[in-house]
Amino acid sequence: MKKLVNDPKNVVAEAVAGFGAAHADIVRVSTDPVYIVRGDAPVSGKVGLVSGGGSGHEPLHGGFVGFGMLDAAVPGAVFTSPTPDPILAATKAVDGGAGVLHIVKNYTGDVLNFETAADLAAAEGIDVRSVIVNDDVAVKDSLYTAGRRGVAGTVLVEKIAGAAAERGDSLDAVAAVAEKVISQVRSMGVALTPCVVPHAGEGSFTLADDEIEIGIGIHGEPGRARIKLEPADAIVDRLLGPILEDIPFVRGDQVLLFVNGMGGTPQIELYIVFRRAAEVLAEQGITVVRTLVGNFTTSLEMQGTSITVLKLDDELTSLWDAPVQTAALRWGR
């Protein structure tokens, strides 16, 4: 497997350094411990938003640090949660006196490390609230699993909660907006190929040339079923079905449709996916009023896509439309 890396041990440090240099107009980076904060942090009187998780999902989360979205991102090693130390340091760096919201994807490691960091921050007198994103319908949410995973829907939570914080909402109010998005967003993904963690050097799983994995997670962990490759429209139908049944989404709903690339799938294929997803939604009387297409929550070089549907109302739509200025999302400013 060919990769553009130097020493695999330095992948995250070198990437974060490059990110900081490329986006110095938006962010500052700390190298020890490693975190990324918006250039004007802490913003006095504003709720600070901190997210993070294993690296390898770029632009999640560093690409979403900036005006109107995250105040800080804490990247761990590739596919490994950051430890509590950098999460605590980032939390302190963005505390503008109005409290800090942790946005955590539902993976055991992320939850445990953010929990520990939140305890430490509270001990230092910082008001911290946490929300857990669990939008992946591929995983059954039951007493017998660690619960549904947090995947691409996290981007929408970060954007909308970020807009709420930017307009001056209190910590409770920002957390409530984030929880509302979490309750109304659902996703499911598919992998056509595995991805290769730099220090592992081989695929995170194996797929035959004619096989795809339905319900893939964003670390390449397997999902619901392994099937033979099908035409794009059939695959979209397999992903969209469980999503729409889950809340459920019903006739008359207004939604944001987000087609996400896993890193190795070209834009041209993502639009083929979008075309079919929009067609199915239209057939069911669900109106797509906002859209997002591109590589926003990736799994290194994995080929694949995920579909995310968010049920909108006037408040969520206006928060989505609010100005944002980050490396990966930028409009209205």
Binding site: S81, T83, P84, G109, L112, N113, K140, A146, A200
Partner: protein, 212 residues
């Protein structure tokens, strides 16, 4: 070797070597039912501990050694294993705080507190296909050995044997916690990497105690 600070440090040095030697094995186990980072994370964490172990003051007791191990693992391992092993060593250290040399009851108290810390942090139960499935049999075996009049070395040996058997016994299980729980029946036939690293750790403790 008596179970004092010298043993504690020797155990941790040996663990660092063992995690390094078994790095690929743990990565491979984790690739099957997780995300393939467990061996890398454990190796990185124990190497960090190893590098700073000699900085401990000479008067540090075994509890101080384990507390230092706990905070270093929490800071360096990441994933779920960092908080879990960190909490284990932290709670274990508190249980033997001030003790210069562990006798049988102190050793069992240490192991039990470590296991309870893992359960507290991870909220897993026996049979969930997690490191608890290595630790709980180990604690049970240690308690039985103590009750049967075994010395500290025999207690550690019994704990290590039971942890290895427990790790092996995770293979037919469906996971109910952690990333493997997403796999349902597909987790059957694979050993839990956390249970395996736990067994390695406890074997290193027993092996260190029996040398000189």
């Amino acid at each position: 070797m008596n179970l004092n600070a010298t043993w504690a440090k020797a155990w941790i040095r040996s663990s660092a070597q063992v995690m390094s030697e078994h790095r690929v094995e743990l990565i491979d186990l984790d690739r099957e039912i997780g995300d393939g980072d467990h061996g890398e994370n454990m190796d990185r964490g124990f190497q960090a501990v190893l590098h700073k172990l000699d900085d401990l003051p000479p008067e540090a007791g075994p509890g101080d050694v384990f507390k230092f191990v706990a905070t270093t693992l929490i800071s360096t391992v990441g994933g779920a294993a960092g908080p879990l092993y960190g909490t284990a060593f932290l709670k274990g250290a508190v249980a033997i705080s001030g003790t210069i040399e562990l006798d049988g009851p102190a050793l069992v108290a240490f192991l039990r507190a470590a296991r309870d810390g893992i359960v507290l942090r991870g909220k897993a139960e026996s049979g969930d296909k997690t490191m608890v499935d290595a630790w709980t049999p180990a604690v049970d075996a240690a308690e039985a050995a103590l009750a049967g009049g075994a010395d500290d070395r025999a207690i550690l040996s019994a704990a290590a044997d039971a942890a290895e058997a427990g790790a092996l016994a995770t293979e037919p299980l469906i996971a109910r916690k952690g990333r493997a729980s997403y796999l349902g029946e597909r987790a059957i036939g694979h050993r839990d990497p956390g249970a395996q690293s736990s067994a390695l750790l406890l074997r290193a403790a027993a092996a260190t105690a029996t040398t000189a």
